[in-house]
Structure formats: C-alpha cells, structure tokens
Amino acid sequence: MATSIQLRQLKKAYGDVQVIHGVDLTIEPGDFTVFVGPSGCGKSTLLRMIAGLEPITGGDLLIDGQRMNEVPAAKRGIAMVFQSYALYPHMSVYQNLAFGLETAKMPKAEIEKRVQRAAEILKIEPLLKRKPKQLSGGQRQRVAIGRAIVREPKIFLFDEPLSNLDAELRVAMRVEIAKLHNDLGNTMIYVTHDQVEAMTMADKIVVLRAGVIEQAGAPLDLYNNPRNLFVAGFIGSPKMNFLTATGEGDTVRTANAALPLGRSATGAATLGIRPEHITLVEGTGAKFADLRVDLVENLGGQTVVYATTTDGQPLTVVLEGQRQVDIGSTVAAYVDPAKAQVFNAEGLAIR
C-alpha cells in the first residue's frame, strides 16, 4: 500500500554551482524520514526535487520503482506542507481544502466528503467558512496539513512546517503529525533544522551537510554511533563535548588523564563525550578530566553544570536529579569508556 522512494546519485546544480552532490537514499514504504541539517545544507532543495518543484540535474528519482525525474509535480502522487503554509488568502478554509480536488474535476459530493473527513481528523470543522487571516498560526498549520490530506496522496512532504509556531504549539503539533503518520501510514518526508524534532518523530534521520548525506539511520543509531564529528555534534542536546586528545594505542590521553578505551587510536584525536554520560562521582567510570565549575543550572529534574577543563576547554555536564555543585570548585569528571567516542584527525569516528 505505502510507497517507497529511491534517490540514486541525485544531483542538483544551479549553473556551475553544485548544491546536491549525488545523494543515494532509500526510503522504505510507510517510513517517517526526517531530513535534518543546518541552514543551507540542501535539505529543502532535496525535498523540493522530490516534490517536483526543482528540476533534477543528475541521477534518478524513483517512486515505487518508477523514474519520476521529468514527471510534473501534480502527477507524482505527493502533497506538500509549506513552511509559510501557502494558504490562498482570498479563499475560505473550505475552498483552500477543495482547490486541488476542484482542479482535478472531482464530483462535488466527493469533494465535500473528503473535506469533511480531513476537517474531522484535524478538528477544524468550525473553521471551514473562515478566511486564513482569521486563523491563528496553529490553525493555519492544520489547514495546510488538511490541504495535503484531502488529496489522499501516496507521499506527504513537510518543509519545516512548525518553524513559524511558538515553542509550546510546536511540541503539540509535533505529536499530532506523528499521530497522523501512525493513523494514515503513508510514507512521509519531513525537513527540519531542529534535531529534537528529528529525534522524536523520525523512523529514519538523514543528516545533511553542504549537499552531502553525512549519515542516515535510526535516531538512536545516530545518537549512539555517530559516524563523524559533525553528526555527533548535531544530534543530541545539549551538544556532545569535544576534547582535544592524543591517541596512544588502546588509551586516549587528555590534559590530565588517560582513558582506556579498548579502541586503537594514534596521534591527534578528539574525544567525544555526551553531557549526560559524565558523572562527578569517583568509581562510576574512568576519569578523563579535572574541571573548574563555572555555572550550575538547576532544572529540577536535571542539573546542568558548565565547566572548564584545566587546559581551558569548555565542557557541559548533565546530572540526573537535583545536585549540589559549588561554583568555582574543582572536580574530577568520569565517564564509562564504552560510551565515549573517539574521532581521528579527519573527524571520523573510531569504532
């Protein structure tokens, strides 16, 4: 039922400037895939190429095994939700939802049925007669999603759909979109620069940088086994700590500790440790640094410690529960060696 998507060496160039450098990716039927990356990484461009809004300049796009490079956007069986919502301001919500169906010359009764159903799913029935300008941001977002639902597409594309909403609404809509995916079961691709959205919603995360896939995989796989420094730094919040270190065979030496890792590293290396994997209690792991505590944030459920190593590198520690840590004190930091990451001079993870 659901639809698969395959990208084979997909390329995009504007004149001489190549922005997508041969992307290979397979999206399984029914998967919720999230393209994530910093601004300008090409994630929206890639989505628009799949949508048919940007011409593909190289490689193949296959939807359900069929080459779609030159197929017009309307015939690809996709619907897209835009960041700006792109609602037609002069039409009522009903007309906005019905526009695509009327364009397809669907019978009025069928249009009515589909619009009602979409409105029910999204709980926007009372809004059908209103104009977009009379709606709040969250309601507009629902209408934009509704416009995608009524067309009963094979694939849903979302281009940063929540970035214009406030934080609270963003979390609520995130949950609703995830639910919608569970209910409808369609293949969906979602573009965001927010790694939390990516982690919480995705079956598969695709991390992009400068038109290249840095890593693709399940959220926890990316969290636990980042392939390089970029992915390690991008996934997870607060960010992974990076300390300059030197590889000495099976151990990694930092300014004032030697950490036995059981992985072979030589020469200049970077030690990567997630803030939540660090403890300040002796005997809970191997010591890797001495820290001077700069600032402590008590969040109730967590305590965040901002510190500096003795050789002047910043480090963030997240401790579970409410802890008493004195600002200005010097403490030793420990980590379970199995949870630490090491990257070589090229920034690639050493496994």
């Binding site: 949508a51 048919g52 809004l53 017009p72 956007a73 309307a74 015939k75 996709i78 619907a79 897209m80 835009f82 700006s84 792109a86 037609y88 301001p89 002069h90 526009f99 695509g100 364009t103 397809a104 300008k133 416009r147 067309r151």
Partner: protein, 314 residues
Amino acid sequence: MTVQHVASTSATSEVPKTSVWARIWQQDAPGYLFLLPWFIGFFGLTLGPMISSLYLSFTKFDLLTSPDWVGAGNYVRMFTNDPKFAASMRVTFFFVIFSVPLKLAFALGVALLLNRGMKGLPLYRALFYLPSLLGASVAIAILWRQIFAGDGLVNKFLSVFGIVGPSWISNPNYSLWTLIILAIWQFGSPMIIFLAGLRQIPQDMYEAASLDGASKWRQFWKITLPLLTPVVFFNAIIQTIEAFKSFTPAFIISGGTGNPINSTLFYTLYLYQEAFGFFRMGYASALAWVLLAIVAAFTAFSFLTSKYWVHYDD
C-alpha cells in the same frame, strides 16, 4: 537654528511657564513655516479657485463685466438644452469605458510577461514606462496626428499590403479610437504598479497550486488575479480619473475643435471652448462641477463595491 530650538524643548520634559498659545507657537511655528508654501498653494491655487468657481457656476460671467447671478440656470441649460454637452458626455464616457479596461488589460499583460524573470528587465521596464512620461505631451499628440493622418505612417504601412486606409483622424468613425489607442500606449504607469503587485504574491502560492495540478491559466484566474485585485482597484480608479480629465491629445489632434462632427469633443475640451473660446466662465464653471460630481460618484461607487471583489491580504 529654529529646528535646534524645537528639538531641545521637546527633548527636555521641563516646559517653561508660558501661556498655552505661546507654547504652541514656540513649538509648532517652524513646522507651519515649512508647510507655508503648501498652504499658499492649497488655499491660493486650489481651494480658493474651487470656491469661486462654485460661486461662478451659478452666474453668468464673461471675465470683463462682473458676474450676474442666474441661480441654477447654467445647470438647467446643460441638461435640457445643450446638444454639445450631451455629445461631449457621450464621447467622454465612450473614451473612459474603452480606454481604461483596455489600457489596464494591456498593462497587466506586459507586466505578466516582464514578471517571468527575463533578462534586461530594468531596461524593458524603463522603455515601456517612457510613453507614460511622454504620452500626455503636446509633442506626442502632434506625432500621433502625423502617424494617423491620411498620408501618415499607419496608412503607408497598410499600403504595403495594398490596403488603402482612411484618414483615421478626420474620419468620425475612427478619430476617437486613435485617441483610445494613444491612451492605451501610455500603459507604463499602471504596468509598473502591476509589476510591483505581482512581485508581492508569494512564490509558494504558485508552488502549492502547481502541486494541486492547477494549470498556468487556472493559476492566473484563481490566484494571480484575485491577489492582485487591490492593485487593479487602485489602477482602475486612478486611470478612470485620468481618462475623465484627458484633454491634451484631443485638443492637439482635433486642433482644439473636437471635430470631426464632435467625435473627439472630450468633456474637458468642451469646457475649455466654453471658457476660453466663448468666455462663458459661469457655464464653464458649472461644467467643471458636474465633471467633479461624476468622478466623485464613480469613485464612491468603486469603493462601495470593492468589498465584493477586492481581496486584501490582511
């Protein structure tokens, strides 16, 4: 120096203990001083003449002897016993009804072409705008007369195909149309405004519509045109007022007569004849007020109906 003074008094919260009027004078005098040229212009050249023409429209006045009060006589004559007035009304309405929609349609068409992201857009934009700057001038009207004359450029061109064209200007069937074409040719200023309006329509509307399968044709009628209605509305009003006021081309091309057989007797031309040909200033004033009333009525009607067809974004 005065400006500095104003800045310092408004900046400090302490106000010296003077009378209210003195304070207002102190604070606002420089402002009024700057407004003075406009006030002189408005009261001396606009409001004053308007009020006196309103008075004169109820009089008989030949500029030489003092005006004689005739009550509503001028207006009564206009609507009951003046075939030339009726003719000028017909000509003017014909001109407005045809020239405005055609000009707007043409301006929108060119704006749509230019909006397709072509190279050299600033150059074309400037070239197309040029006629608007020149159009109402005497020189262009004279040129127009040459082009549409019996042995003019148009007929020379037609003769290449063996067609013997009429003298467009001296034939009452065509003379008004040459003026309408001249008006359409001055499509530059509405075009520039249309172009700016088209630029305001977000690109993702069209992307959403193309994903919905809407053809370019449907996109134009269902998205471009509705979203452009505020600009259409503005252009329609401005151009209609312009068209009602149109004078120079008709004056030059018909040599100030409105001929042949009153076929180019624009309302303003008739008004001019009455005022400065026959020195019937009272009657001419009445004509001017009727024109003002017509334009005002049209504009009011447009505003009243606008809520049914003009879509504002927010």
